[in-house]
Point group: C2
Chain length 476, copies 2
Amino acid sequence: MKKLSLFVILVLAFSCAEKKESSNTELGLTTEEKKDSTNIKHLFNTALMEGQSYEWLRDLTSNIGGRLSGSPEAQKAVEWGERLMKEVGLDSVWLQPVMVPHWVRGEKEVANYSVNGQKKNVPICALGFSIATPKNGVTAEVIEVQGLKEAEALGEKMRGKIVFFNRPFDNTLINTFRAYGGCVGQRVRGAAVCGKYGAKGVIVRSMTNGVDDYPHTGTMSYGNIPKEEYIPTAAISSRAANILSDDLKKNPNLKFYFKQSCKTLPDAPSFNVVGEIKGYETPENIMVVGGHLDSWDLGDGAHDDGTGVVQSLEVAYLFKKNDIKPKNTLRVVFFMNEENGTRGAKEYARLAKLHKETHIGGLESDAGGHTPRGFSIDANASNTALLQSWKKLLSPYGLHDLDKGGSGADISPLKGEAVTLVGYRPDSQRYFDYHHTSTDTFDKVNKRELQLGSASMASIIYLMDKYLYNNTPVKP
Amino acid sequence: MKKLSLFVILVLAFSCAEKKESSNTELGLTTEEKKDSTNIKHLFNTALMEGQSYEWLRDLTSNIGGRLSGSPEAQKAVEWGERLMKEVGLDSVWLQPVMVPHWVRGEKEVANYSVNGQKKNVPICALGFSIATPKNGVTAEVIEVQGLKEAEALGEKMRGKIVFFNRPFDNTLINTFRAYGGCVGQRVRGAAVCGKYGAKGVIVRSMTNGVDDYPHTGTMSYGNIPKEEYIPTAAISSRAANILSDDLKKNPNLKFYFKQSCKTLPDAPSFNVVGEIKGYETPENIMVVGGHLDSWDLGDGAHDDGTGVVQSLEVAYLFKKNDIKPKNTLRVVFFMNEENGTRGAKEYARLAKLHKETHIGGLESDAGGHTPRGFSIDANASNTALLQSWKKLLSPYGLHDLDKGGSGADISPLKGEAVTLVGYRPDSQRYFDYHHTSTDTFDKVNKRELQLGSASMASIIYLMDKYLYNNTPVKP
């Protein structure tokens, strides 16, 4: 009996663990909402049992890998995307030509300094759009600052020095994207600010919550300073940043050396990959769902943004598998060049305007492939309220966050009073562990989390397609 | 300008990404709730900036590792726990002696079969409490079933055979613990059911959502069948289960071989580790927070339940760091033997009753160290409603789930009409990837997710300590 009671405990523990999931979704719903609830359940079931996104992602990340704009890998990814969209059976699939920036990293970067006769190698990587150092590298004393204002205040004091931006993420912020937002300015504009005052180079603490040994790359901009003021800039790993900061306290005159051979080549031809399922009722109205096909070169672009790409296509796949036909045209877009230029996004929006297309809604997945938390909504007040009213349909799947907020860099150029833009918001805790670094690989993606994301996206697209249509948008 | 606009996009994207977190937590709150909101924010800030749980867990998992009841490692874990509680500065720390089952795995298990002249090795592991096979192993034909009912229906047909329980998790269930609950019966009772009918052995598909190469162990029970009917039972990896199932379709008479040398030794002495902060107002009322110190032997017991142990102690640490003194006595318990016997839990409850202790509440963390989702509540109606009224204070931290449900195997023996028991419920998607297998190691735990869990637990304990006290419990 003693041992049987163990089983009883187990059964009780798990059977009581929560309300039945199926009945849970049906409480207090109207007849129409019950139908929606059933359709949403089917979308989730299909994603979890027959979803393809995980294998698509394995293929993209393992067989193509990192795919920076203008690279041969980016071109392979375009061909991969076009082929896959056709395989899924979209009504039409086409490539949208766009010229993209073509920055190349060159040889592996080198950095080091010596303290007390001990040479320390430092993991660094050039930031996207940075110029190279002179052939023999840059060697200079280091001034540490915590941000752009502190750097500006230094003014001429930084002439001939390397400026070291070392503001860490504010780890008390629950949403790690906010911590990123509070730091990324030093990465993007550090070299522009310091180039003006004759600094020899800029090194920036990697954008991550943790302390690790990987430099995290990302884009930067020289803004409108003259070319002769351009200086090379690189990210250094967060652990190396901590060590350098400590060493500077004891050895303020230490000389830091770094060398990189990156360069910006002429713009290269590339493509957005676009496919659509024609709407059966108002095909002239378009709903777009997308992620970006390009990635940084250091890892395999798994979470950024391989997951967004495969989830976007899986939305169409889940519709087809469940024989859900959209009223409006559902368009899947793999945007090119989100990471360093958003040229694909701009070109997509330019052509939409040129061809007088009516976009009624958009959904972007570019915040990683982690467990679903919700969506952020960029829409007029009535459509925002409409989307928030779906909480009861979405919360059984862990989708509680339906706050106003931005959608994403690729669909935001479509913004307009009558356009409802939505950003998929998975859990953000692990995202910056891998962001823009060599560890952003397939093994960091959990199959169920990815599939749940596809289903979450398909569910809100299903609701937007059905109800935005009836909810006459406010015309300005 | 083109490049500066990139920066503008970045800034907009992230600053608009969500409402400000601080003001978000203050909307529509009473003065007292604002105070609570501030205290909760402090608990989170401290966990994220000065939390110790991650390093404690590294120490436990890396320097001690797996710690099955009765093992030398379990004894080391007891000493580790006692030392750590003292280091944190609890008012008193003591060991609560308890005799625990002492099952040992013995030599690494072996299993294989041949089809078409090809020998296939099969990853298996003995289930906890299983007997050994005869010295030369067991060889027999295999009958595959999908669960206990189907096995019962076979009756005498299974005599001399190996019964293969192969019901997979229902992956359409969003909460993976429910999928576990739907399958674990075959693991726990399979051998008892088949022993009765003279089967030679039982092999069970591993309890996991995925398809992997790791056998996942776990407890089983022979129930009250006579000893002579005991048969050996083992888990086989989910991938091997799929392959075996396929092979059986083509080769129904294939002979499966397995060998294991596990045995149950006499009960061994062990301990619960208990520490407390005395309540300043009603020290006679006790709130317990705990996890289990023992683990299975295959991995390092990181998610099961190292995370629960270090989070429970971190609750006390966060109280002390923030100078929050509990009104009631806050007791931290590292329970022994949750995995195969719950003897520690039973002994703790027995002593509580014997000493006429008044437990007003309890919180258990034994569902992994993943990102926080909420709590399940096992309490009377008024206390359940009270806890659910804290949603506005907890939801800014992603704690949306406050449903009625079980608490956990270690605190449920304290259940009573006046006792509010709560189970910490982190996201469940990844839990069964590691559960009871060799991959349950430190590297699978994310630092922020762990810390957020500690803070979530500290927050609900803070609220329970403050308000349960005023909320006169219903006496039966």
